[in-house]
Subunit: 288 residues, 2 copies
């Protein structure tokens, strides 16, 4: 999908958040924000938000002199999520519909997104996860169950650190033997990379591949040839989060999007209200 | 107060809101937002948010070819508020403390602020006003009552259209004979100007003066000599809204600020939480 003008203030906010993460120096914050304001003013809005965010965050890392400003935060998010796993696993085990419960947990965990919100607190995440198994899913869960039942080769694209730990519980339900997990090829915001897949213990149960890109989404043209091959070969793709939705919802593939609707732009595009826990297939998309 | 980096994404959002108000043409929206992104990147953060917003909105009106993009909205807000007046007046009359109730209503009506929020709905305003007389005031209302009791010459600085209609109810309680009301000298966002004072019927009960400025606040150096004289002569100034707070909270005058805390920047500066209904004197300010 194209970038909305409404995404621009959000990019400016993200730049400021990231600047504050990498440094305590207000003059560096100001330098970063001023330069990015100017760059954002020149960007090509025909591209998707993750394509623009990719460029913003690359420059941000240069200005900040850090390859991974969110490293410490991602570690903390993984640790917090790992602490929740025993109780979430019990939620799934005692549930009458373990696939539905695992999907609910995985969608709820998509709240752990530092692109969408400044100052997300651990309390907010914990509150969301506590209520996750009773939260309503919006969309086509029965069709998703059906698609999963018939799939032979599932590619599961993760979104954020912390969230990926909860994704593991859903991947276990999907039957790991037929699942490949995709992570970003390099750090961007708090998106999950190989280190986070390892923190979640995913390489012990499935094949995990990097996508070769540092976009906070899945821009196929920017991904490695190996990743694109796996993408084409999969007969079912599960894509977590808004970034993957923004970058893949126009692609002609069999993609199921699992995400929390976090802003009015995505609400308009998906036809779902802000706050919805979405299970949505490419075919159901509101036309752009 | 100086402008925070956190104000910048908000300026971008304001520019987009205003662009959409003046035109249905997405290419004009884009042109306006792109140019303002660049300008915002060059602004002097040592100035107050209303000083920067003044320049942004001037340019916005030029680009949009409209002297008053919010004219129709302001009329609607005044009409809506006038519809509430009979029931709000009854709230005050049946109250044991009519001054406290009138202050509560006037502070609650400060929600009618199109600078602080995109897409404020009439329902939100109505819900806020319905609960206004039972809402808690944060700050020093007893000292305010005391100051009012001893004042001889009160200057009451209004903030927004719609809100100014509710201000009239408080002004009636202050004894109109000793009150002068100040409005902005020219349109900016939905701030109240002379036409809005007339819609509220204020010239029938008090002297109303324009401040000579098109800033969404009160920047004394930008106001007319006549306004500054009235300002200096007043022994008590009541200033409504965040814009007046942002521009006057460093000035060495006897100012009481009545406003709703609408963003984290003002929360930090005032020491009050977002959402608070504030009654605050200059002397209580958190140091910058």
């Amino acid at each position: 999908m194209k970038t909305s003008l409404d995404c621009l203030p959000c990019f400016v906010r993200q730049a400021l958040d990231a600047a504050r993460l990498v440094s305590d120096d207000p003059s560096l914050h100001e330098k970063i924000v001023r330069e990015l304001l100017e760059r954002i003013g020149w960007m090509d809005m025909g591209q998707s938000p993750p394509a623009l965010a990719q460029r913003i965050h690359r420059r941000l890392r240069e200005l900040a002199g850090s390859d991974d400003p969110y490293a410490a935060i991602k570690e903390r998010q993984n640790r917090m999520a790992l602490g929740l796993v025993p109780s979430l696993r019990r939620d799934i085990e005692k549930s009458a519909d373990s696939l539905a419960t695992a999907v609910k947990l995985a969608v709820a965990a998509n709240i752990i997104d530092l692109g969408a919100k400044t100052g997300l607190t651990e309390d907010e995440v914990l509150a969301t996860m506590r209520n996750a198994s009773s939260a309503e899913l919006t969309g086509e869960f029965p069709s998703f169950r059906d698609a999963v039942a018939h799939a032979k080769n599932i590619l599961y694209l993760t979104d954020n650190a912390g969230e990926i730990v909860v994704d593991r519980l859903l991947i276990e339900q999907l039957d790991p033997a037929r699942v490949t997990v995709g992570v970003r090829g390099a750090p961007v915001i708090n998106d999950a990379v190989m280190a986070d897949a390892r923190a979640a213990g995913l390489p012990d149960i499935v094949a995990v591949i990097e996508n070769g890109s540092d976009a906070p989404g899945t821009i196929l043209a920017d991904c490695s040839e190996e990743f694109r091959r796996r993408f084409r070969e999969a007969d079912l793709i599960v894509a977590k989060g808004q970034g993957n939705f923004e970058s893949l919802s126009d692609e002609p593939y069999n993609v199921w999007f699992l995400f929390k609707v976090k802003c009015p732009v995505i609400a308009a595009r998906s036809g779902l209200p802000v706050g919805a826990h979405a299970v949505m297939h490419t075919a159901e998309m509101v036309s752009a």
